[in-house]
């Protein structure tokens, strides 16, 4: 390799270079999408250490499979799906028990004490108000672009269970995110 400067270009071009073994090109993709993947895993409920481990595993697996990425969708979405699958494999048993109600799935107690000042409420804060199951399902469907059926099939649970977790999660998020959105709307109209 003559130059150690990271290559530039569109994700699809970098992925093609990575598929040919260019690790610098893949490194640039990691730089571009690392935070999104780590963020999604945290939003799904992984603690920071596990989220980073899973994100790293996902990028390593992504490098092995990058030749399969044809640029039909965004690279970010592609690698996030790999990361979500890695995480679900890790927590599959626990997730299934939580989602089917076999073990207690309480709300995050720290979220209840959060001051509900509109300026402080953002998605990550709002997600803390959700139970683990709701958080997982909502994050997969809206952050990972998974369908309800995909979540149900992967976790081997009824699709109705997934839908009810998503609905309850959305109801809570609507309340938690409302002050911000209402404020933004007032600003826009004012």
């Amino acid at each position: 390799m003559s130059s150690q400067r990271p290559p530039t270009g569109h994700d699809v071009e970098l992925a093609a270079l990575a598929a040919a073994g260019d690790r610098l090109a893949y490194g640039e993709l990691v730089r571009r999408h690392g935070s999104a993947v780590r963020g999604l895993l945290r939003r799904m409920g992984a603690d920071s250490a596990m989220a980073d481990d899973m994100a790293q595993d996902a990028f390593l697996a992504g490098f092995e499979q990058v030749a399969d990425y044809r640029g039909e969708g965004a690279f970010g979405g592609w690698i996030k799906r790999i990361a979500a699958r890695c995480y679900l494999r890790k927590i599959k048993r626990e997730a299934r028990m939580i989602l089917t109600g076999e073990i207690q799935d309480g709300d995050d107690p720290t979220a209840l004490n959060e001051p509900r000042t509109a300026s402080r409420i953002d998605l990550d804060e709002a997600l803390k108000a959700l139970s683990k199951g709701e958080r997982l399902c909502v994050s997969l469907c809206y952050g990972g672009d998974w369908s309800h059926a995909e979540v149900a099939e992967t976790l081997n649970i009824p699709i109705g269970t997934v839908k009810s977790h998503v609905k309850r999660g959305l109801d809570k998020l609507r309340v938690r995110l409302a002050p911000k959105t209402e404020g933004a709307r007032r600003e826009a109209h004012g």
């Binding site: 690790r23 490194g27 935070s35 963020g39 790293q56």
Partner: protein, 126 residues
Amino acid sequence: MAEPDFESQLTRLFSEAPPFPDAELFAAQVAASLDRGWALRRVLIGGAGVAAGVVAAAQIAASRFSSELQTLSLDGARGVSADIDAALHKFNQLVATPASVEALWLVAGLAALALAFAVTRAMEEF
């Protein structure tokens, strides 16, 4: 708020990655892991090649070469030049013809591994 509005807003919020102060460090860790994996792969391929070579050499030596040498030493009465000629002839035969099917496969495996190693190196370099 209408449900589709809220859902599209939620999708947009999810698409915004939270900032990570250690983003560069994370990228460096992934790069280091990739390098380690690559180096490990090279070592494994090289190691497998060496192991296959050693086994192949041992197979060849154990099958005929040592017995031929033994025969040579027992036939000390023969003339030195005749012995050398005979040994060279036998050795040439040995090199020209694999000692057994196993040895043939081992040598083929060794060649395949060496080729894989060369391709790996070439991919990395270019």
